[in-house]
């Protein structure tokens, strides 16, 4: 979508490779979460939520397209090929977004945790020294605001609702919390990108994220935050068993008809 910027030509091979890896990870989170959200189409508890999750999935895919367009400028890759013809081992999404959609509480809580992370990462990335990424971040953050408002309200409603909705929200929080740390594990080469100001420093994003999420979950919703397990979470090349199942469904049509026309 963006026009090629002259600075893409001045990157060293190491920086270029690290940037490609980061853009892929950013896009993959969005693609996989969008798929999980789209699984509610026709199944959401009320029609408005069916529509809302379809909207959110569409936005996340729009963001994935923006990131993959930036990758295309660096290596000439094709977004559709990357989405539909890579195996699980080549995906770089976080495990948080791979987990099955579960119940409504898990879906909304996962969306809230991810929306807050994405919004704060994008907010910081608006200051990227890599102009094409700064542009994309400035664009996408304006849309992410609406996701965050939506998921935050649902988490509050469920946590402060009935005994059953609170029980399910607590259960979802306990199940999801061990996976949030992986969002803040840098990729190979990411530290040098952050040092050069191309991407935000994940530690700084994490501080803002924890403040934001804690004030909502604990302060507003009265939820007890579980303890994050000790030790460094695995990198983004280590997936749950759920990803390959998801991909086999998501990619089935494209792989069965690799030369099909889009429209």
């Amino acid at each position: 979508m963006t026009t090629t910027q002259p600075e893409t030509l001045n990157l060293t091979p190491e920086v270029r490779a690290a940037l490609i890896e980061k853009l892929t990870a950013l896009a993959d989170d969005e693609i996989i979460l969008a798929h999980r959200d789209s699984e509610w189409t026709g199944h959401a508890p009320i029609l408005e939520e069916d529509i809302a999750l379809a909207n959110i999935a569409q936005d996340e895919l729009g963001h994935a397209t923006l990131f993959l367009e930036l990758r295309r400028e660096l290596d000439g890759s094709d977004a559709d090929q990357l989405a539909y013809f890579r195996d699980a081992s080549e995906y770089r999404c976080a495990r948080l977004v791979e987990l099955p959609r579960g119940d409504w509480a898990l879906t909304m809580l996962r969306q809230f945790l991810f929306d807050a992370y994405e919004a704060l990462w994008l907010d910081a990335a608006r200051g990227s020294t890599y102009a094409p990424l700064a542009e994309v971040a400035a664009k996408a953050v304006r849309e992410e605001k609406f996701h965050l408002q939506h998921s935050a309200l649902w988490v509050e409603r469920l946590a402060l609702g009935t005994d059953e909705s609170r029980r399910r929200t607590e259960q979802a929080l306990n199940g999801l919390w061990p996976h949030v740390g992986q969002l803040f594990v840098p990729l190979a080469g990411e530290a040098s990108l952050a040092a050069a100001g191309l991407v935000p420093d994940l530690d700084q994003v994490r501080v803002r994220w924890e403040n934001f999420v804690t004030s909502h979950l604990r302060g507003k919703c009265g939820l007890e935050l579980p303890v994050i397990p000790e030790g460094t979470p695995p990198g983004r090349d280590v997936h749950t068993e759920h990803l390959s199942v998801l991909l086999s469904e998501m990619q089935a049509v494209a792989r069965a008809h690799p030369n099909a026309e889009v429209w």
């Binding site: 963006t2 408005e48 664009k139 605001k145 965050l148 939506h150």
Partner: protein, 164 residues
């Protein structure tokens, strides 16, 4: 025979007739989506900025822009897109806001200084009776750019444009 020449003003006028495919009462220029027009002999370049990045109508908009300019007899049309500066609802023209309101869609509140990350929704006025006594019934609507409301004064449901 030389290629027919057009002026930038003629191109802008042609683009003013290209409707937004999802909200046909406003055009792509009303929405502030056309950022630049340049004419170089028989070659016209139109730069536009997408509204929502996941908007499924983007390719329709892109094709409609190309068709509208070609209809002027221009042999070569290039439609470029740019993300800088990002599109904002503040660029929607005043008279287009009024047309949105008459069509039943509450125009967006000013986006200018509002914080990018906030859990508060924008104030919205009922497009029928003007009341601020409204309730949001769905934070996402039939298109990415809209939300659903009900007015507690005149009891009518309506759509509201998100402030971006």
């Amino acid at each position: 025979m030389t290629a027919p020449h057009v002026t930038p003003e003629q191109v802008w006028a042609a683009l003013a007739t290209v409707p937004d495919p999802e909200i046909p009462v406003v055009s792509v220029t009303d929405m502030g989506m056309v950022r630049d027009v340049s004419v170089d002999g028989g070659h016209v370049t139109v730069t536009f900025t997408p509204t929502f990045s996941g908007c499924p109508a983007l390719h329709v908009i892109r094709e409609s822009i190309g068709e509208a300019v070609r209809a002027l007899g221009v042999p070569e049309v290039e439609v470029r897109s740019t993300l800088t500066p990002p599109w904002t609802t503040d660029w929607i023209q005043e008279d287009a806001r009024e047309r949105l309101r008459q069509y039943g869609i509450a125009p967006p509140a000013p986006a200018g200084d509002s914080p990018l990350i906030t859990l508060e929704a924008d104030p919205t006025r009922c497009p029928r009776c003007g009341s601020l006594n409204v309730r949001m019934t769905a934070s996402f609507g039939p298109t990415l750019c809209k939300r659903l409301f009900v007015c507690d004064s005149c009891k009518e449901p309506f759509e509201g444009f998100k402030s971006v």
